[in-house]
Symmetry: C2
Subunit: 314 residues, 2 copies
């Protein structure tokens, strides 16, 4: 290892002391692979992510296999993760049927996937915006009744490939609707990666005004225009302590043509650790995991930190 | 063009109204190409950058051709740029001989290239740190006597591949030495891309304490670990208004193994325009220029914004 294999720590005032990384690589990443990854490889991926210190690892999705065949093995995969100990393993559920499948396997955390725009709701969920929220309502209620933690994803918060700019009030309406249903946490998605830092701050401020506390908000940035980490910094400066990221930068969005990968967890960890913010993650082990996963997928990781650190080891 | 071909403008409070982009692609980018780019292509590149609205375009280097054969055509190239009008065309000069060659061709802006560390000074300049500063002194004086604007690059400000962490006071010492010689402007280089935002802020604050005003400071980030734009945001929040970037993300550093490209100008412009900060740059024309240059070089641009926007046009 060379002298610069870890970032130099120089704390910045006014930032959170600790950030919880919501790791989405195994779900948001692998659901976008052209070929399904074998179940044992997925299980090994999640295990290695946990060993690298990630404590919230979105494991899979109970969406109908017709829509996301890459994750059709959710029933086989999830029980294999039972031995991971004190790790949160949220799973995506699109509807009541998905929730029942997840609950039957003992899932303790679920996520529903809403859209901030009419167009994306129709493209991704096959329903209008309000209609899709109506579908989630009994799902969230039943999950809460079962004592299950519920995350509400809100996609296209900062721009939509069909509609362009998305009014902030519309995003806030979807967010408060999800919260009113009982969602414990929201994840604000910049699904096509167009946001810039002022936009992030403005949405966070509006949500606070509408009564959504910052500690219930996570951010989910895509690096399509290279903006993900700058936007994350703006969110941290606002007090956000939950950041979604994907190991090795895996992922994208099959329904949004220009959406490239999620923010890479390694690039995020480099910044957070450099800022003196605790994550519990071992960057070396995480990078090794992404290098291993890149070998399974047969192509290099798009994460700049993974490339820089794995290049050093050669 | 789709609805998201330009960023939505949401200004952020406390940021500069205007940023001057110091475009380094033609020099810092092309000097790292394995094969020299033909002179007419270089001239056309600079012309297109100017047409895209960039007003400070570092054109070439008057270093000895033995060291940087890729820019051995400086004498042929520079006169071809005479017709560009009101564009600043700084050139790199390593020593007195380089300055004389540049002055003979009518250069009005030069840059000298210092190191914040002993190791990099020896590796890159073949001289110790103090010895290299001593070489620059008469160069800067002579340039100032000729009424020429002088920029002082300081590389390895945030980390060094041999030395690891670089003490901030050492960086400040080199900066003030260059300023005392007569440099009009400094460019703080994160040559291996390891900096994080708190580190950037701390160096800027120390330089201010040492009497260097923010308006004389430019920042020069590399995206090796994906940190360049987050670091730029931190610099803007400190009041910095000069940002170095390379069209299409061209470049790297032949002497620092893990250094990948410079911050891509397009990724920077996406953020600045999204923040409502004026640059004078036409993002569409700039992207088209980088796509054209990528064709000349025979490989795709590493800029995420260039990839996203050129993908849209297909």
């Amino acid at each position: 290892m060379t002298a610069d294999a870890l970032p130099m720590v120089v704390p910045d005032s006014g930032l959170p002391a600790r950030v919880r990384i919501h790791e989405v690589g195994a779900r948001d990443g692998l659901q976008n692979e052209q070929r399904a990854v074998p179940t044992p490889v997925k299980a090994e991926f999640v295990r290695r992510l946990a060993e690298a210190g990630l404590t919230t690892i979105e494991a899979t999705s109970f969406v109908h296999p017709k829509w996301v065949p890459q994750l059709a093995d959710a029933e086989q995969l999830f029980p294999q993760l039972a031995g991971l100990g004190n790790i949160d393993l949220p799973v995506l559920v699109p509807n009541q049927r998905g929730l029942e499948r997840a609950l039957a396997l003992g899932a303790r955390r679920i996520a529903v996937f809403a859209s901030a725009t009419e167009s994306f709701a129709k493209a991704n969920l096959n329903r209008g915006l309000d209609e899709s929220l109506a579908v989630f309502e009994p799902v969230v209620r039943q999950a809460k009744d079962a004592g299950v933690h519920v995350r509400g994803y809100v996609s296209m918060c900062f721009g939509d490939p069909w509609e362009g700019a998305v009014p902030l009030r519309q995003v806030a309406r979807v967010c408060t609707a999800l919260r009113d249903m009982g969602c414990d946490e929201l994840s604000l998605g910049d699904t096509i990666g167009v946001a810039t830092p002022g936009h992030v701050r403005e949405l966070l401020a509006l949500l606070n005004e509408e009564g959504v506390p910052t500690h219930e908000i996570g951010v989910h940035f895509h690096d399509t225009y290279g903006q993900a980490l700058a936007n994350t910094l703006a969110a941290l400066q606002h007090g956000v302590t939950t950041v979604d990221a994907s190991a090795g930068g895996l992922g994208g969005c099959p329904y949004a043509k220009s959406a490239t990968g999620n923010l890479a967890t390694e690039d995020l960890v480099w910044m957070l650790h450099g800022l003196g913010i605790e994550t519990g993650v071992d960057l070396g082990r995480l990078t090794a995991t992404s290098v291993w996963m890149a070998e399974q997928l047969g192509r290099p990781s798009p994460s700049r930190t993974v490339r820089a650190l794995s290049h050093k080891d050669q």
